[in-house]
Symmetry: C2
Subunit: 304 residues, 2 copies
C-alpha cells in the first residue's frame, strides 16, 4: 500500500557518552521514513533549507523513499542541538533553530494524495489537520505529538487526534495530557475523548497499546549499550506503520505484529548515531530480533 | 515442597489517596507468605512484640502458614508509617520504629530446617547468611535486599547473594548496586559477580529475569486504580516461590510461569490495603488474571 509520512527533517548536533556528531541527518519524518522503508515505499513530505546536503536526498531515494514532496526553501534546515548524559532516557536540548521549518506548509503533492496509510509525525496539530484535508481516502492514520502542543494547542490537538485511527505519545506526554500519574487511567481517558487507539511509548520499558476492548503490552529489546537514543520513538512509529502498509491488514493481531516490528526497528536505531545502524541493517537481522522479542516474552500458563 | 520465608512482620500506618489505616498487618514476610500460601504451605520466621494482635496469628494459621517460627518478644512490633501521594510509585516514609525487630535473631525451628525452598526477604544480609547456615538441604534460595544494605554492607551482601539461586531487587537498587543507569548492564554485572539469576522488579513496568543465557521480560498487570502499593514486591516474590515450591520444577520454563504467578499476586495485593484483597481472593481469579497476562502480551511473528 502507499504510505505518506509528514514531519520534520533536521540536521542535528548530538552528543552522548559514546561520541559527538555535528549536522547529522535527523528529524521525525526522517527516522520514521527510514524505518518504514524496510517494509514499504514511502511518500515523504517535509521542508529543508538550501544547505541540506544532496547526498542525503540521494540516500533517501535509494531507500525507496520518494523525496519529491520535500520542499527546498531559501534559508537553513531545522537544526537541533542536544546531549544525553549518563542516563540516556533524558535528552537535554541546547538549541533549537526552526529555520525553514518555522514556516512549514505541508503541501501534499497530487501523486501522494491517494496515500492509504498516513503517519503525521510530531508537528503543529493545525498543520496535521491541514494534511488530512488533502488526503482523499486514507485507510489508516497515525498521529504523534509532543508536550509543547499539549500545553499550547490542546483544543486543536484534540480535534486532530479525534480525526485519526491511532495516537502515539510517550509516557510523560500521556500523564501531562490527562493530568494523572497512572498511565492506564491516562490511556482510558484518552480513549474516552474519542480517539480510537492509543499507544503509550515508555522508552526502555516498551510500549502499551490501548483499544476499547484490548490491551497489548509490548517489551522493549534489552540493550546493554545504547549509543544514541535520538529518533527511537519515530523509528518505532515508522516500523509500525511501514509493516501495516506492507501487510494491508488492520486486524488487532496484525497491529500487535506491527508494534513488535516497530520495537525491533527502534532497538536498531539506538545502536548508532543518526541512521547509521539502519544503513547496514538487513531483513534477516530484523527477523532474528523479532524472534528474540518473542522468545524473551513467551510463557506457558501456570497450573494453579 | 516445604517453603521457608524469613523477614519482617509489621504493623503499619499507611495513607494513600484512597484512604488511611492505622496498625494494619504488613511486613515483607507477611506479604510474601500470604501470596505464597495460595500455592504451598509456608514456614514463617519473624519476630513480633507483645502488642501483636492474636487475631493476626489466627489469620495466618488459617492460610496454611505455620506460625510456630514467629518469636514473640517483650516490646512492640516493628512499625512503619508512610504515605503515597498522587504518584503511587513513590513511598514516603514518615517513621520507622524497629522495636523488637532491632534485635531479631532468625532462629530456625528444627522442623523448618529441612525446608527446600527458602525466601530470605529483605533483612540484614548478616542475618540472611545466618539463616542459610541453619538450613540442611536447600533446593532453591531466593534473596531480596534494599538500598540501605547496598550502601552499608555491600561486602556481606555480595557474600549472601553469591550463596543463593536468585536475587530479586528493584530497578533503583540494581542501578545503585552497579552504579549504572542501564538496567540490562546492571543485571549483566550482577551475574558477573557470581549470582546465578537476577530479577529486577520495575513496579508498573513489570520485571525482568536475567540468567547467563536467558532473559525473560514480564509485564505488570495494567491496573487503572492502585489502592495501596505497599507489599507489591513481596507479594510478587511470595507468589513466585510459592509456585516453585508447589510445582517443584526448577526449569527455566517453569521459572517464567512462577514469575507470571508472582506478577498476578502483586497485582491483587495492590487492589486494597494490607492483605485485604487476598482475604477474598480465589484460585479461579488468579487463573483468570494469568490468562489475561498471557492475552495482553501474546503476539505472532511478523513476516518481514
Amino acid at each position: 500500500m502507499s504510505l505518506l509520512i509528514v514531519g520534520s527533517i533536521a540536521l542535528d548536533n548530538v552528543k552522548t557518552p559514546f561520541g559527538e556528531h555535528q549536522n547529522i541527518l535527523g528529524g521525525s519524518a526522517i527516522h520514521a521514513s527510514n524505518a518504514a522503508s524496510f517494509f514499504s515505499s514511502v511518500n515523504l513530505v517535509g521542508v529543508v533549507g538550501k544547505d541540506f546536503p544532496t547526498e542525503h536526498l540521494h540516500f533517501l531515494k535509494k531507500r525507496n523513499i520518494d523525496t519529491s514532496g520535500i520542499q527546498i526553501k531559501k534559508g537553513k534546515t531545522f537544526h537541533w542541538e542536544g546531549y544525553y548524559e549518563y542516563d540516556m532516557n533524558q535528552a537535554h536540548t541546547l538549541k533549537t533553530d526552526l529555520n525553514v521549518f518555522a514556516d512549514f506548509d505541508p503541501i501534499i503533492p497530487d501523486n501522494y494524495k491517494d496515500s492509504e496509510f498516513v503517519f503525521l509525525a510530531n508537528i503543529d496539530p493545525t498543520l496535521q489537520l491541514k494534511v488530512l484535508q488533502q488526503i482523499k481516502k486514507p485507510k489508516f492514520i497515525m498521529l504523534d505529538t509532543m508536550n509543547f502542543w499539549i500545553e499550547t494547542k490542546k483544543d486543536i490537538l484534540l480535534k486532530a487526534i479525534n480525526s485519526v485511527d491511532l495516537l502515539v505519545l510517550n509516557d510523560a506526554e500521556a500523564r501531562q495530557f490527562i493530568d494523572t500519574p497512572n498511565l492506564i487511567k491516562a490511556a482510558q481517558e484518552l480513549l474516552a475523548t474519542g480517539v480510537k487507539k492509543v499507544i503509550i511509548k515508555k522508552g526502555e520499558h516498551g510500549a502499551i497499546l490501548f483499544e476499547k476492548d484490548n490491551v497489548f503490552v509490548a517489551p522493549s529489546y534489552p540493550l546493554e549499550k545504547i549509543i544514541d537514543p535520538t529518533g527511537a520513538g519515530d523509528s518505532f512509529a515508522g516500523g509500525l506503520i511501514g509493516y501495516l502498509s506492507k501487510t494491508n491488514d488492520l486486524s488487532h493481531a496484525n497491529l500487535r505484529k506491527a508494534i513488535i516490528t516497530g520495537t525491533a526497528m527502534a532497538s536498531f536505531n539506538v545502536e548508532d548515531f543518526s541512521l547509521n545502524r539502519l544503513k547496514s541493517l538487513t531483513k534477516t537481522e530484523i527477523t532474528k530480533r523479532i524472534k528474540k522479542l518473542k522468545n524473551i516474552t513467551d510463557f506457558e500458563l501456570s497450573e494453579i
